[in-house]
Amino acid sequence: MTVPLLQIRDLSVSFANRRGDPFEAVSGVDLTVNAGELHGVVGESGSGKSVTMLAVMGLLSPGARVSGSIRLDGQELVGLSERQMRKVRGRRIGYIFQDPMTALNPLMTVGAQIAEAVRLHKPQVGRSQARERAVELLRLVSIPMPEERASQYPHEFSGGMRQRAVIAMAMANEPELLIADEPTTALDVTIQAQIMELLERLRQDKGVGIVLVTHDLGVVAGAARGLSIMYCGRVVERGLVDDVFDKPLHPYTKGLLGSLPQPDARAARLRAIPGAPPPIGARPSGCAFHPRCGFALDICRAERPGLRPIGATTVACHRAEAVAMREAVEVSVHDA
């Protein structure tokens, strides 16, 4: 068996709050991404997806405590020194940020920022060479007139163009892995599709593995192969996109799918998941989802379910069988 590109095992991240009490933002997360594969990580804000990804990059604030294992191509990243991590960042892992409006330095030309990414890891590359490479990368991400664009500043770029530039920056050193943290959230829907196409093309042409973090199942649907659903700092369901979409086993996944607009069901109201995610630091006992769950029993309140395989998917739910059995259980808000 080949070594997975990214293998996260039992990753936990805890922070201290103002009073110094620790709380876990991410608990026992497992995640496996194979080379050249696009893996979706889906969850609401506060579900721990961004924290997990920043942990992979070693970019968490100094107060964060990380335990577990993160392996990139077999190499353990947890415990690496800052200096060693710097050789991983930008060279072996490229990071794409949510908001392209703020992810670029406003005082540097786009070309200079991409060239910087090149030269940080290849100091032997000269300035003019790095600039040529920047133009080449802008061309790779389909920015028209890359020569002119390279000497422009971020404010002269549109949102979609900026995100392309950010992607070019992330691709500067042909990394094995791209982490895209909500890359389309801040963009118009039409631009979203273009960015997703671009990521897919990079995956196919360059063979780069991609972790796509999003709260939008719709984005994942067409693009990803594997899928992990996160809730309250844990992975609650994991499997192939087709399986999970076809037969969601966790009530939360089911709720997420139910809240997607269906083009063929125009009359039906969108069903929202009732309630809101609990505040960090005040997570419910047992299964964290139970206060919002239509399937919850006493056991859900008392005992936290572990991940277990059911069919091709893996799910953390005491009631997964019941969820699978019952079609369209009303977890929706009562219509007023």
């Binding site: 970019l59 960042r89 940020f97 992810a103 005082l107």
Partner: protein, 342 residues
């Protein structure tokens, strides 16, 4: 950008005219009669002397008349004659302005360097010991009165330790360098007078440090605040995600952005200090504009007061323009010219 600068340069004389007018009117409407300072209080009872002095200084004419005459003279570089020194005001200012500029530029250099370094360190090591020390240092600089800090440093470094000379611009036994620019540092060098140059530098250290300390106080707090703001921006995280080291992130990415709001403070401080260095100049017997202004105000020396006010106003106008230009040079988002108006 050049059209913008031209437009600003055209507007500048108009703004200056406003400054002149206000300064002129204000001195006229002050309650005290400048004649007392010209001829002395005892002669005020002698109508013949009073009349003669009025005529001599043009005070017998009406206000609009005097205003027009003053403006006409000003256009020829004549700012009137000081009641006190009996010298042309323009000449007095010409001699004293370089002294002030030399002091203020040195103070700004020191203040900016220390302020930026302290601000960056304070932001980087936020809430740590360095931050606290920097905060304390800035607090003293910004709040302790210069006449106190000035005396303290004079006492310590000049009187007690004897490391640095006392007040004045140059060793009292030395001869002032021949006037070229009025900057003693430059003039001694032009004259090839190395001992004099050294003496001038040594004399600059204390007053420039005391004055610069106030600048450090403001600048370091400003830099710290904007650094903290910038460091929380996503492009800082993005720079780290590229693999950039801490120093590179701090200087190339964070500081450049954090300096933008600081530019305004720097420009403002500079303009303010041109006429605001009074206390420092007094403590250190610095023959600059500030001490001249105080003497003028005390002696009801109206021509000198208006002259100093014009210099102060011009200093603000010029530094404002320079600040705006600097902004445009540093920040690509600032477009000074209104191109193709929408």
């Amino acid at each position: 950008m050049s059209t913008y600068i031209v437009r600003r340069l055209i507007a500048m004389p108009l703004l200056l005219l406003g400054v002149i007018t206000v300064a002129f009117l204000l001195t006229h409407f002050t309650a005290a009669d400048p004649l007392t300072s010209i001829i002395g209080e005892r002669q005020m009872n002698n109508p013949a002397v009073v009349e003669a002095a009025r005529a001599r200084w043009g005070l017998d004419r009406s206000l609009p008349e005097r205003y027009v005459i003053y403006l006409g003279n000003l256009l020829q570089g004549d700012m009137g004659t000081s009641f006190r020194t009996r010298q042309p005001v323009a000449h007095d200012l010409m001699v004293r302005l370089p002294a002030t500029l030399e002091l203020v530029i040195s103070a700004m250099l020191l203040g900016t360097i220390f302020g930026v370094v302290l601000g960056v360190l304070a932001a980087r090591f936020r809430d740590g010991p360095i931050d606290n020390i920097a905060r304390f240092f800035a607090l003293i600089g910004a709040s302790a009165p210069v006449f106190w800090t000035g005396l303290v440093v004079l006492f310590i470094f000049s009187v007690q330790l004897g490391w640095l000379p006392g007040p004045g611009r140059i060793d009292s036994r030395a001869v002032a360098p021949p006037f070229v620019t009025g900057f003693y540092t430059i003039d001694t060098l032009v004259a090839g007078d190395w001992a004099g140059f050294r003496s001038v530098l040594m004399h600059l250290i204390l007053p420039a440090s005391v004055l610069g300390w106030t600048v450090t106080g403001i600048v370091s707090r400003m830099v710290r605040a904007s650094m903290l703001d910038v460091l929380s921006q996503e492009y800082i995280l993005a720079a780290r995600a590229k693999g950039a080291g801490p120093l590179r992130v701090l200087i190339n990415h964070a500081l450049r952005n954090a300096m933008l709001p600081t530019l305004t403070i720097l420009g403002f401080s500079f303009a303010y200090l041109i006429t605001g260095a009074i206390l420092t100049e007094t403590i250190f017997s610095w023959p600059g504009i500030g001490s001249y202004a105080v003497a003028a105000a005390r002696g009801l020396d109206n021509p000198a007061i208006v002259g100093v006010t014009i210099i102060g106003g011009a200093a603000f106008l010029i530094t404002n323009l320079l600040t705006d230009i600097a902004y445009a040079l540093v920040d690509p988002r600032v477009k000074l010219s209104r191109q193709e108006g929408s």
